[in-house]
């Protein structure tokens, strides 16, 4: 029973990841992060990704503007004032950089478009890019949370299934 759960979780995770890669939501940099995760740093990917979400929230102000409604999980509002393009540009650069560092490919691409629009002081373009950015960001956040939840469940299930193995590992 439990064994079947672990295997199914693993299959579900693989499937989700495959979809995300196929959609271009994630790129090979995410794989690179996974390679950096091991026994000495077993939660590396989720730690970095959570830092990314936390840091990115600073870009989003709880001011006016619609929230994205994907599963009701994400609650971000982006500043629509655009009064200070230069400041926005700085934030965008940082967001773009960290997005590429975790392999958030589509988010980064929208940032590039957003930046191009802001450099031209193109308000309409910025608004459009902002909408896209919210959408992509929320989608990414939801999917990655889903992934990490599955991972947690898998670890728990694996622990229940192989208590002896876990013990032996700890003894090392």
């Amino acid at each position: 029973m439990l064994g079947w759960g672990v295997d199914r979780l693993r299959a579900d995770m693989s499937r989700l990841l495959a979809i995300l890669f196929h959609q271009g939501v994630l790129d090979e940099q995410f794989l690179q992060l996974q390679q950096l995760q091991d026994e000495s740093s077993p939660n590396f990917v989720s730690e970095v990704v959570n830092i990314y979400f936390h840091e990115s929230e600073k870009l989003f102000t709880k001011s006016q503007g619609p929230t994205c409604k994907t599963d009701g999980y994400c609650d971000c509002r982006l500043d629509r004032e655009f009064s200070d393009y230069k400041k926005m540009g700085i934030h965008l650069n940082q967001f773009m950089g960290s997005s590429s560092s975790i392999g958030a490919n589509r988010v980064r691409n929208v940032c590039v478009a957003f930046r191009a629009a802001s450099e031209q002081n193109n308000r309409a373009g910025c608004l459009r890019a902002l909408e896209l950015l919210e959408h992509e960001y929320c989608y990414l956040k939801n999917k990655l949370h889903e992934l990490f939840q599955m991972e947690q469940q898998r670890v728990l299930a694996a622990g229940a299934r192989y208590p002896l193995q876990q013990q032996q590992q700890q003894q090392h």
Binding site: L36, E47, V48, N93, G97, A113
Partner: protein, 241 residues
């Protein structure tokens, strides 16, 4: 080592026979680990570079700004060469690092400005500096290489980039030990010596450790056949909308 000895032999032929004569260089050759100072204002990137370095068996110190980096090195307090250079190799308060890797675009002090400050200091200019940037801007890359950066890596940084850097550093470590030994012992000839060993000029390839790849002029990117200095050239094309 071959290319470096051209300069060294003229000055100190006897010294070249034994690299470990200088007690000062032992402090980092004792520890087999390469100690890297990573500078990046992005917390995400700091975490990633830290992990990349640790997994590559490097010791890491990660800071969030150029100012903090300079402070750690002890470069901010020491005004000029006389005070710092005489004590730099004998163990002063600053952190001893083997390699500095810094983001280019940071608020306050950019990676380029940090690079300049390091290369302007006689006690720190020997430390190799690598610049990282999420953007592949040719003029920016040229500027950094001309100022003496060892390498310019386009982000995101991969494990292969880090292991390559570490291997390069380890391979050229002996040369650096010899150089620092020479710098300490030949104070009088420092001026002319420094001109020939400073790795910031394009023609200095004979005096500095061999670049990562066999291109003779590390500061003229157009002549490089190394793909890694321009890893994202083609992939950026499809990103730009």
């Amino acid at each position: 080592m071959g290319s470096n000895s051209v300069v060294s032999n003229r000055r100190m032929p006897e010294k070249m026979n034994c690299f470990d004569l200088s007690p000062n260089s032992n402090s980092d050759s004792e520890a087999e680990e390469v100690h890297v100072l990573a500078v990046d204002d992005s917390l995400v990137d700091r975490k990633v570079i830290e992990r990349l370095l640790k997994i590559s068996s490097c010791k890491v110190t990660a800071v969030d700004s150029g100012w903090r980096a300079l402070k750690l090195l002890g470069l901010l307090d020491d005004e000029e060469e006389d005070k710092s250079s005489s004590s730099s190799s004998d163990g002063f308060e600053g952190l001893k690092v083997d390699l500095i890797i810094t983001d280019y675009w940071m608020p306050g002090m950019t990676g380029y400005e940090l690079l300049k400050k390091i290369k302007e200091s006689s006690s720190f200019r020997e430390i190799p500096v690598v610049i990282m940037s999420s953007e592949n801007v040719m003029t920016r890359i040229d500027r950094c290489l001309e100022e003496g950066a060892e390498e310019f890596i386009v982000k995101p940084v991969k494990l292969s980039d880090v292991t390559r850097l570490r291997d390069y550093y380890m391979a050229t470590r002996e040369i650096r030990s010899a150089e620092s030994g020479i710098n300490v012992n030949k104070r009088k000839l420092q001026e002319s010596f420094d001109v020939s060993t400073a790795s910031s000029s394009p023609s200095s390839s004979s005096a500095s450790p061999p670049p990562l790849f066999s291109s003779p002029a590390p500061c003229s990117p157009s002549s490089l056949d190394s793909p890694t200095r321009r890893p994202k050239m083609t992939s950026l094309d499809h990103i730009l909308i």
